[in-house]
Symmetry: D2
């Protein structure tokens, strides 16, 4: 039984508390820490079987009984808390992104060197039933050599302009998942990024200095070309699809729906919309990524998504931003220098 | 918090133990009783948070702390244990069928009279995301007045001849779910049954005195005609679909798959097979039916599936058997006499 | 080049004139005969390349240049004209049904004996791209031994009560196509019919002595059970589907639509309705059946649907009527006596 | 009745001869001209109802009885023959592309000025049942303001290196259809093109100086971003899909198949591959574009695809080539200068 501390009890923290409590075997949440902890949250955590709640995450870092830490706090705290946890010998599961600043991610990488700490980054979509089936088909050679990879990723509703301002921009906040997915599906890194983007959904997003609609082309190391299309608003719900086309075939995945019910009437043949948001679509994936993290600890194996997998999509996001600003293809090597 | 005792720790008992432990709020399993309880089962139950295990189900019946009983034991014990539990003032969730013998079900009905006991029968498919979406479409009038109801229900693998002998026959063992579904989708009872059946899958099933393939026509009270097709073996997996056609349209539901991945290659365009068996397909439905049972207890409302809903499909199963044997349409009123 | 005469220029006659003129190679329409021929029809026929039009079909029967006759006149004339054409040595393509009266069909069979006349019955659905693909899958053994055959056949709009009165009843007018399809998909004859039917769509149909909704169970000679569901009105269009389930798998076919366009919006994910009626759905099948008729003439091979294939569905329709009237399963052997 | 002359009896010429003969009303082919005309072709043309065949296309240009000319000859002859036909007062249907040289297209535009000649370019896909349904949905406002347009266009088999050498390159030979489709779906012109391309299918194509795989991003005038993905080889057949995403929803179209048959067995649930090539997929579209051309002549209306619609995709193809060579986004205005 792995004893876990969870730092941050916001939306994503609660997702992990819920799924560990109800679905993840061999893990037990000892402590939940959140600087804004109130009575309601504490009571809810207790009802989920959490032993202890606190405002001070150092209680978790300093608790010798705790084996592993989940970092679900605000993005700017991910890298310093990662380093504290590593130094305390805790295994770390860190929500994405590790940081928007490459230097800070490199500090985490340095802190890990020579330790036996397991480090995993929270790119949950890799654990989705359909995305993982697509990746397995590719990895098993069922479509031959990948040539074109297409990822559609559209949110049901745009963020507030306030959120946009602190988000790091769409490429580091939203597309970062798709950058990870492109690496996952291709089985290799990207070498170049080109962005065509616009502010079409909400003028306030543009005023906040960001875009909300984009088509992003990636040159992958293995020769394949990947293309991501993003929009901050899809009226029909959370649109998360992918397609990998190769020399011997294609694998494509589509959205999940609440039911398979289809109604035929005088207006047409109508099925359900995609599940509305990431909590519905990826609830099982959130549980699965923690199961694999716990399993890596128990069996002393590599985590499925190491710290380098946290770094690469950030580099891609920075390259995307630069491509948009300078309106030209940008090589990843420019960013890594 | 409703305290629950579970009688029977076989396959279906374990399904309920798992789903209550991991998914059903406001319910807690105090005791699990099984005459064949061994150390492995007891240890597993403990790991799922069960307080107590025993070989003697009377410990549950006699425990004043226990509010509700789940009867997951062998079919012949359903009605006597139901009556004991009712007399002890426990709410009862009874796996289907209550009994193969109508007289014994009537004894349960009699025992319930004048009590405040909540009684629910385990027709789990009503709680499936897709079947319930179809029923809601019908109930909401989206297809007008129902005219034709079609239910496909095929198992991935046939039972053993030993099981067949004690099963009560396919109509009471397998079709019983579909009889309930016909009532659920139509929103009314059947008045007549006609069966065309055969032994096509396995000669041993025929030797055991049963059929394995059938098309069953039902006249429903509201004028609609329902038709069920059953087979004990579908090589592609558990096939559970339905379609309700009415004066203003049609609602149809199809199978669930492990993923949405579709591979296109020189051989064709291939998606996944349906989920292989009822545990995969209906796991969420099993949790949902218990949630509704617990909710009916907590809010003192009717259960969604009362004891009469347990009786009717048994009557239909008996009528089906008679129809097959006498090769003629059989009215339900013949059986009820 | 086969010279053809067409008797009857009503709806179905015009379908054949159009498809022979525009799609069928090696056939040329010399004469069209219709007792109600007017100037408009004659002009239209000319525009389609027809050489000659007449009110008297005997001009066709007596024309030594004409090789083959298409009988598209009213049902009661099918068998006498068939016999006249056979006696004149013309090959005959006869629209379904040959007759509602079995004795008259037997007269046609007698007339054919000892001649070299090719005779084909117009069950066009066998030539539909999807129904024929399903049959080929079955015939190629791709689903193993057939066990359950399901045919859905629903019209978009009910006929007028006037038509109903002269139609021979739904089983001989509408279901007859599905009876043929059951034989085609099963690869054998039916031995017994059971009907559950009702008048749900339009009371006027009931007043005209007919039903409009039915579920029809067939015992097939090879052990499979077939079930047909019919309705005279489906608000979403012409619903023509089938499924053959067997020991090694299932083949299913669905409807054709005007386009593959699917619109996702806040209301759902909506595709097009099925093509609205048989002229849209089966236009290519109408051409294909004539192509095969012409090919049988040119190559002196059997037609794909001989006179016996015209008789059997009529027997099934008569058995269905009897089953409905006597509310019991009816063996085909009862009708054949 | 419009009298037509067809110049060029190669693959595409034969498509038009066939569809005019069998499907297009109000048009009659008087003469077919082809410099390589042989007896077989002449005989075939006669069998299709063509009055006259010749090696000299000037017989068509000079024939006062001929109203309209279809130019189906080799690409380098399109613009000069267009000008000759225009000067002779013939209406012109010209296969795509009018020319690879913008100056030559401008000469055709100049020749048209002041005449009453109808000119139509052969972008057949606009007349496909599904692409046109998608465009109509967009034009009818069903998806709101277009934001992202995605076009997939993959051929089943790569061309020979010999063909590649004279093709003008993939962008002018293959992508040109997709450039037209982007304009059609967006309802406006592109302003900028960026290409990421590679030689992945066949090294011989690279040796012939061309690419075979590409992702092409287009900035559209109305703010939408379009992306085309191309490959010269898809093992599963001709892959022609599109999706338009907008502020109020999305319309998506998929491939056509030979039938709707789906086989479920132990291996999976398998439907048919897309129709294998453009002749199967677009046969009806080829007839429809000519019908509209004939209709424009008869009713003296604009053709659906004028000479400017022939010019624009060529400009986009040239910009794409430049983008690939210079590895940067290229504005259309650079090419138009």
């Amino acid at each position: 039984m792995v004893k876990v501390g969870i730092i941050g009890a916001g939306r994503i923290g609660r997702v992990h508390i819920t799924s560990i409590s109800t679905k993840v075997k061999n893990a037990q949440i000892k402590t939940v820490a959140d600087p804004f902890l109130n009575e309601e949250t504490a009571a809810w955590a207790k009802s989920m079987g959490v032993e202890n709640t606190t405002k001070d995450y150092m209680e978790i870092i300093n608790d010798p009984e705790i084996d592993a830490v989940l970092i679900c706090s605000s993005t700017d705290t991910h890298s310093p808390i990662s380093i504290q946890a590593i130094q305390a010998g805790k295994h770390v599961f860190c929500e994405k992104p590790i940081d928007h600043d490459v230097a800070k991610i490199r500090e985490v990488i340095a802190a890990l060197e020579g330790t036996k700490v397991k480090y995993q980054v929270g790119f949950n979509r890799r654990f989705d039933h359909s995305f993982s089936a697509a990746q397995q088909a590719v990895a098993a050679g069922k479509i031959g050599k990948p040539e074109i990879i297409k990822i559609t990723s559209r949110d049901p509703e745009p963020p507030t302009p306030e959120y946009v301002k602190v988000s790091g921009g769409m490429f580091l906040d939203m597309t970062i998942h798709d950058f990870d997915m492109a690496r996952f599906l291709a089985g290799c890194d990207a070498t170049e990024v080109y962005v065509q983007a616009a502010n079409l959904v909400d003028p306030a997003i543009g005023e906040a200095g960001d875009v909300d609609t984009a088509v992003i082309t990636l040159q992958m190391e293995n020769g394949a070309i990947a293309v991501i299309d993003n929009c901050r608003k899809a009226v029909y719900g959370y649109d998360q699809r992918a397609e990998v086309f190769g020399s011997e075939g294609m694998v494509a995945i589509s959205n999940d729906c609440q039911s398979t019910a289809v109604i035929s009437n005088a207006q047409g043949v109508t099925g359900e919309k995609p599940l509305f948001f990431f909590l519905e679509r990826y609830m099982d994936a959130y549980a699965k990524e923690i199961e694999e993290f716990i399993s890596a600890i128990e069996n002393d194996t590599d985590t499925p998504l190491g710290v380098e997998d946290g770094l690469k999509p950030v580099l891609m996001g920075i390259a995307a931003k630069k491509s948009y600003e300078e309106h030209r293809p940008v090589k990843l090597s420019e960013i890594m220098e």
